[in-house]
Amino acid sequence: MRTYAIAVYLFLYIPIGVIAIFSFNAGRHAAQFQGFSTQWYGKALSNPFVMEALQTSATVATVSAALATVAGTLAALALQGVTGRPRIIFDALIYVAVMVPGIVIGISTLIALVTLFDFLNPVLSALWPLAGAAPKLNLGTGTLIAAHGLFAMALVVIIVRARVSGMDRSLIEASADLGATPWGTFRQVTLPQIAPAILAGFLLSFTFSFDDFIIAFFVAGSETTLPIYVFSSIRRGVTPEINAIGTMVLAASLVVLIAAQAILQRGRRRET
């Protein structure tokens, strides 16, 4: 049993380990290790295509995570007031949204957006009041943010909801009892109580968006995110530079995920 478990872990982590090790390869071939070097990290970071993709990814991740956090938190708070059958339906819909495979989300979002744009663009140009051509709605950063934001919102709802429903209701009553208005109670009691979950939700949304390839692949249009860049350069062969990028993305994601976990844990401990 134990050997079996070890085998599973090796199977899971050896490929990742190999990528990390070969990112420090001095030679330019991925197949054999020719000495330690960090040159590929420098190459990756000075490659303008990589930097541009990184910037797109960072923008999309930040904006979509911020939108998802605000909308998801508000939804989680509003869902508190929903009980009975509607509650069950809403809960189910949120969980389904998280479990739908990325490829399905990608395709359906693409179809929905293209249909919408095909309908809106003629209307827009017909109604455009100024001189010159009307702006054309297209796939790109905006659609990336929309698609990632929607998916991440479901994540945020789940995380924040867990915290909100774990919250002691009597704290809210105590606050009202002491003379705080509903808004005052929200600001001084509810928000500090759920802040760790909100922050964790933001960080998870950020990593989700930053790492996502499948959904981005469908809705990115002509934009290139970091995962898309990696995918397209792999077709020209795996270089240590790609390994270096992968390792950096992995390290950044791990740091953020561990931070999110620590924030949630800490919030939970303080509760008791």
């Binding site: 009202a176 009892d177 002491l178 109580q193």
Partner: protein
């Protein structure tokens, strides 16, 4: 101006609270006097918390009215009522320090009181609950008893017209509970704030309250001072709740001149003061306090066998058995013991009581 004509500080008028089919409080009528210490006493689920929450504003009565200081407040939300509550599990804010918890109420006031004023009020409140210097502590660093004092300080700093306490001592151990009871009582006297306490602990209610409101199944059964309730319970339920008592069932044979006769099993007769509504021919019960019964070796009284004996210092409590009445308690003072000597378990003797000592009550 305690001339009885002043407006009560709070009033429930036919206040009813339903939760769907459940009636948590049924047509409660009660007026609360300025500066008194009143307890709601009753078993779990009888509607005590519901009554308290209607006063605090967390529940709106389905029917009837809530008045504070003569004003109808049914629709006034909790944050606008001059009433504060000490919650059952304290409900202290875990993200705030002890001092910030206590200052919370003052900081909600508009215009905001100056920081220096708040700080000195907090320091004074901490003194009052005997936690000086504990301000900077975190809530989870405080013991249960200390948390309770913080909850108390957080409420009294606002100088509310009514302080509501929902089983505040339930989570404390016995010794601490006793200390806290004395402290609460002292606090109430010195502050002059009207206290309303919810408890299912009769000793607590008896020892602390000016008046007790006994509840059952969402209804008020009887309201009165501890002595009133002890001496003149309305029915068996009240007599059972206030102090220990023995109950003997029987049939009322005669009621006249403030005295009634009850015939119990085996022809045993009990004569006592009837409560309202007791009539000849009815089934009723006699309530006899253990201290009203004495144990002798003489010829008077009913024969009993001592089943068990508990030494309580000044008193000895005997559990005795009579073939007709079953088991009951007798409390014998040290003096009586000196006269009659000790009874050992298994020994026989006679149990006696004065005619008229008993209360003849309706059996409900």
């Amino acid at each position: 101006m305690a001339d009885g004509t002043e407006t009560p500080i709070a009033e429930l008028r036919a206040a009813t609270k339903r939760y769907g089919a459940v009636v948590a409080a049924r047509s409660l009528d009660l007026s609360i006097r300025r500066g008194e210490f009143l307890s709601f006493l009753g078993p779990s689920g009888c509607g005590k918390t519901t009554a308290l929450r209607m006063l605090a504003g967390f529940e709106v009565p389905t029917e009837g009215e809530i008045l504070l200081d003569g004003q109808r407040v049914n629709d006034l939300p909790p944050h606008r009522r001059p009433v504060n509550m000490v919650f059952q599990h304290y409900a202290l804010f875990p993200h705030l320090s002890v001092a910030d918890n206590i200052a919370y109420g003052l900081r909600q006031r508009r215009p905001r009181p100056p920081a220096a004023e708040v700080d000195s009020a907090v320091a004074k409140a901490l003194e009052t609950v005997r936690l000086p210097g504990f301000g900077p502590r975190r809530i989870w660093e405080m013991s249960g008893g200390q948390q309770q004092r913080v909850a108390l300080a957080r409420a009294i700093i606002n100088e509310p017209k009514l302080l509501l306490l929902d089983e505040p001592m339930a989570a404390l151990d016995k010794k601490l509970r006793h200390d806290m009871q004395i402290e609460l009582q002292t606090l109430q006297r010195t502050l002059g704030i009207t206290f309303i306490l919810v408890t299912h602990d009769q000793e607590e209610a008896l020892s602390m309250s000016d008046r007790i409101c006994i509840m059952r199944d969402g209804q008020i059964v009887q309201v009165g001072s501890p002595r009133d309730l002890y001496d003149r319970p309305k029915n068996r339920y009240v007599a059972d709740f206030v102090g220990k008592s023995n109950f003997f069932e029987g049939t009322v044979r005669a009621v006249e001149g403030g005295s009634a006769r009850l015939d119990c099993a085996g022809g045993i007769r009990v004569v006592g003061r009837p409560s309202e509504g007791v009539a000849t021919g009815q089934a009723a019960i006699a309530s006899l306090r253990p201290e009203q019964i004495s144990l002798t070796r003489g010829e008077d009284g009913i024969p009993v066998t001592v089943v068990n004996r508990i030494f309580l210092g000044e008193h000895t409590e005997y559990l005795v058995r009579n073939p007709d009445l079953g088991q009951f308690l007798v409390l014998s003072s040290r003096q009586a013991e000196a006269g009659e000597g000790n009874f050992e378990p298994g020994e026989t003797g006679r149990a006696r009581w004065r005619d008229g000592a008993a209360l003849i009550l309706k059996n409900d």
